[in-house]
């Protein structure tokens, strides 16, 4: 049980990467289905719908980021093995990114699907279509911010 702190820290990193990754995978997946449908009707739209499909992909990257910073501080990819208390702090710090990443990734995907429909009907409305999914991402960014600030704040 010497490295229990590390176990907690690693659990945190895993939660961040896991849930945010799942959220993005689901979001990008459903947006991809809509994008493929739009492209089958209008192949010229490929570039635009691809951008919209990618928008829910960022949560997974934020999750990776949080996981990586954590790993680099808890003695797995650098840093020192934390105490149990510190390990729990890392675990807590990772939670916002993991959970908000899951929810926002999926729902951003749904907003992307709607935006892809919008673009396939009105090609010139791309600028507006891009904003709707980006609204959802705000919350992933806020969670990312809290997670980062928390991790950097753990002494």
């Amino acid at each position: 049980m010497d490295n229990l702190g590390m176990v907690f820290g690693l659990t945190g990193a895993a939660i961040a990467a896991l849930f945010a990754g799942i959220g993005s995978a689901v979001g990008v997946g459903i947006a991809g289905q809509a994008a493929a449908g739009a492209t089958s009707e209008k192949p010229d739209l490929f570039g635009k719908v691809l951008v919209l499909q990618l928008l829910p992909g960022t949560q997974g990257i934020y999750g990776l980021l949080i996981a990586f910073i954590t790993l680099s501080r808890i003695g797995i990819m650098g840093g020192q093995a934390p105490t149990v208390g510190q390990g729990l702090l890392y675990l807590a710090a990772c939670l916002p990114m993991g959970f908000v990443g899951l929810g926002s990734g999926i729902h951003q995907g749904k907003a992307s699907v709607a935006s892809i429909n919008l673009v396939s009907k009105k090609e010139d409305q791309f600028g507006k279509a891009m904003i709707f999914p980006a609204m959802v991402e705000t919350y992933a960014i806020l969670a990312l911010l809290i997670s980062i600030l928390s991790i950097f704040g753990i002494k």
Binding site: I61, G127, K128, E137, T138, I141, L145, I148, L149
Partner: protein, 670 residues
Amino acid sequence: MAILPMKRILICGMKKDRKRVLEFLQRQGVVEIDTSAEKDEVFGQTDMTASSAGFSRNADMCDQALKILDGLVPAKDGLFTDYQVIDRAEYEKRIGLREESTAKAKQIVELNKRIAENEGEIPRLEIQIEVLEPWKNLDIPLDCEGTRHSAAIAGTLGGEVSLSDIYRQIAELKPELDAFDVEIISSSPEQTCLLCLVHKDQKAELEDALWRMNFSKAPLSSLNPAEEIASLKKQIADDQKQIEEDRETIIGLASERDNIRFVRDDYAMRAEKYEAIGRLAQSKRTFVLSGYLAKQDVKKIEEGLADMDVMVEISDPAPGEDVPIKLKNNKFTSPMESVVANYSMPNRSEIDPSAVMAVFYYVFFGMMLSDAAYGLIITIACAVCLKKYKNLAPGMKKFLTMFLYCGISTTIWGFLFGGFFGDAVNVIASTFFNRPDIKLPALWFEPVAEPMRLLVFAFVFGIIHLFVGLAIQMIQMIRNGDVKGAIFDVVFWYMLVGGLIVAVMTVPMLMQDMFQLSFILPLGVRKVALIIALLGAVGIVLTAGRDSKNWGKRILKGLYGVYGVSGYLSDILSYSRLLALGLATGVIATVFNAMAGMVAKGKGVVGVILFIIIFVIGHAMNLAINALGAYVHTNRLQYVEFFGKFYEGGGRTLDPLTENTKYYRVKEAK
């Protein structure tokens, strides 16, 4: 910089001159023709849809021909299609080739159609061969009726059946039959092909027996099956040869591509012109054209029309009119026009926000990407494209120019924060040269080390951005004569929000512990700031509901108005994305560098190669994802937070009659 003032133009002239006038206007490309031409007994509209549609059809046909050509012989256009600029004389010269080039385009389309037909026929012929294949040993045609006294019946039985079985079954079904002969032509597990010869008198009986055995007739062919197969095969070969030949012919026509592009543009232009003629009010011998143009273009148009026999009248549009909007900006701010247009064009009583936006846009984009190497890549890529393609479509040019400035800003922020491919300098130095002490120093500070400090600056930028938005609102209101509104809706908010922010800056706990800032305003300031904020709040309570006459209602609405301060809080917090996305770029870059460094450590040359592979793939991905993120979120900050403070939009873009071409642009001789 501004929304251009618009003028209404009225042109009257003789009908015979109308084409010349329209051609001139089309070449200038600055006049929008009004669709609502007045109609009465004298003036009506001529239906030009037939000729306009004819030209559009030809343009479409040329497009189709070009697409077919591009499929077979890819055009060497590179990344973007640049306009070719030709002068008027060259244009007149090439216009002579119109008939010929149109015929060529038509030929390409027809050849392509024939190729498609032939390609469709081949599988059909192949199926016919497949059906005949089991019969190829039969040496008489399948539709042979027989001789004078005998009849021939050709057909198949399901499954593999032996000759003796067939005789036995026929004998069981029709024992009286005796004058017949059955020959098996071919057999396979699926079917057995037979030829039965029978005396004419017994034909019906035998057929009856065969039907009961699930016999089905052979396909008909007037030749011997073997000959028929040979002829079908020849047909396939002919079709294939024809396809090849047609392809060769099309490929041979690739040299016509430029000419076809030229006539395509010409047809598109004509279609537009005729469509415009259809919108004019015309009497028997005269026509009236009405429309809008920017004031700055009036002189040019008037001078151009001076030597034509027409009357030109310029007037100011009436106040309630639906006047189109045209923006004018300098090189630095004009890329913002597309960002504004993506949201909505400003309406006539608003200020063009492009210029103010430009500075914030570039700064925010740079902060969110904040890596000097990425910035340099974007800057160089855009600069090269802009230099190589001199005559890009205006939208594309603006887009590239915007990213050019965004790239420059990213480079500057990258150096300020010490990011160059993340911490690549340090990783390379420590992995390959064993010098972990070498690193690119940040000119300002490293966000990863002091995230709270950057967060404060993100909020400061946000507050400036929002306050500038409010200031524009104030200018707009004053310009429209609503000075009271400017005080009520803007100055009170400045007092409330500004006062609260200053008050926050006097709280030591927030300033020192949270934001790690060294300066704190003295307590005395807090009192003044709070009083100002309170005055602002009272002002808002009293005035935010000023539309209501009833004071009770008015105060309630006012209280709800003050609640808007929570909106300001969330607006300001929204700018934390400046920090978050900037950190994301830096940290992801660090992740890839660390991965590359770990793999490469101590492996010599192989290590260097692995390092380069991971490095290139990782950073390409990071750049793509984060540039997209920075672009989307910069837009968001402009559209939601900034525009939310003052912008309404809803204007209509000026849609002038112009040479709406794709490949060529005609330069006017001066």
